[in-house]
Symmetry: C2
DNA sequence: AAGTGGTCTAGACCACGCA
DNA sequence: GCGTGGTCTAGACCACTTG
């Protein structure tokens, strides 16, 4: 009598592999067995093995590399991002001693959409700057942020884009402006296809979406931003 | 000359379907075409269609139901959860007029792990209560929270579990205790397999993990909790 | 019984990295 | 050229829902 003990699934293979990594049997930087090897080992189809590996990938344990193999991530301990009314990316990273970089990958002048109108208390005819900023830590893409400012408040902002390094540096240097965080809204979601390209992540890695409104020191809203941050690379901390 | 315009992929089918839903061509509560129909429509294998639908599912647009079809979600606008030093789940939901419920699904007395020791400033020999609480809004599971308290602070806590409805209600009624949020840490991640069972979600839906420490009014830490919340059902708001 | 989604097998071709 | 992962086809069996 043959007992089919086959609620064996992609999920069980995934758990087995995660165990191997957690126990240190397969170490960070090493490869897990190839898909074909795993097929033989578990006597299953390659498709099933691939499902298992997909789960490992989404959970952040491994990253497959075409032509090479599937490597266990040297998981960088998630960066702490301390949120307060005064927080800036650059300063935050520097206090943690993390190498960082910001790139302006796109900017435009446009009419505000409904969200932007409401958050910035703008008329539908008041133009805004819309900037897309890609931020790196340790040479890896961490987040992409869309920041929106009323054009009126930051005249000729584009003049300062040539040597872009820190958004808040520009605001401070050229406009004597230090925005203050009014409120933020967090949500876990999946990246858009565009975001996956910029962040160089698979489309199933969860990201944290942070929607914020920043105020001018005198009180009115001056910046509306939506950041999409790799969930596995950052933890946001709020102190009360 | 035949032009292969076939970077057609599961992702493109997914985008097509998302468009149909966004434009209202397929409305909430309705079914999208069956897998076999989509196979014919796009002249692709069922496997490809299933990948596309998997993406829709993860993004929260649809939920497949075996034997019936794949229904467009009546997307409940994400609940706002306002985080402050005084926040409680029950009160938060009631101010928004949302029907809610809490179930204690597991409890134990145990020695604290390293995280818990550190967060609660406990000796490794001081026992803790560990509670798993499942919370519902509008009859749908929203979050699962593991709360840890030092046994010493809440003697005979289990006596009050019979008619469990609100954790903070018990603390207030029987211990005259109103914990105050010290800090919280957010991260986007994927659910564990256990969490998927409790929350009744597929394993690829992103969740937001909120790790918090709450203090006794006189200042020392009294509760360490880890909440896993459906990303598509809740937005956390922080006011500064 | 027919249709639906859930899971698996078997096998193909491609793009990439490496020796 | 070979092995790797990425993608797709073709077809099978199952569990569930509905008529």
């Amino acid at each position: 009598m043959i007992i089919r003990e086959e609620p064996l699934q992609h999920l069980e293979i995934a758990e087995y592999l995660i165990n191997q990594v957690q126990k240190g049997i397969i170490k960070a930087g090493q490869k897990i067995p190839s898909e074909n090897d795993l097929c033989e080992q578990f006597h299953v189809n390659r498709h099933v093995v691939r499902q298992a590996i997909a789960r490992l990938t989404n959970l952040g344990w491994v990253t497959p590399q075409q032509g090479k193999g599937c490597y266990v991530n040297c998981l960088p301990k998630p960066i702490l991002y301390v949120l307060s009314s005064q927080t800036r990316f650059t300063e935050n990273m520097e206090t943690q001693g993390v190498s960082h970089e910001s790139k302006l990958i796109h900017w435009e002048i446009d009419l505000p959409d409904l969200n932007e109108q409401e958050s910035l208390q703008l008329d539908e005819r008041e133009y805004v700057y819309r900037l897309d900023i890609l931020r790196y830590i340790n040479e890896q893409p961490l987040s992409i942020t869309t920041s929106v400012f009323p054009c009126l408040e930051l005249p000729r902002l584009e003049q300062h884009f040539d040597h872009f390094d820190s958004l808040y540096g520009i605001l401070l240097d050229h406009y004597q402006l230090r925005p203050i965080r009014s409120h933020s809204m967090f949500q876990a979601c999946l990246p858009t296809l565009k975001d996956t390209e910029h962040l160089k992540i698979p489309e199933n890695i969860p990201i944290i979406r942070i929607e914020s409104v920043m105020n001018h020191p005198s009180g009115f809203p001056i910046e509306y931003s939506v950041a999409r941050v790799r969930g596995d690379m950052q933890k946001c901390v709020i102190e009360f």
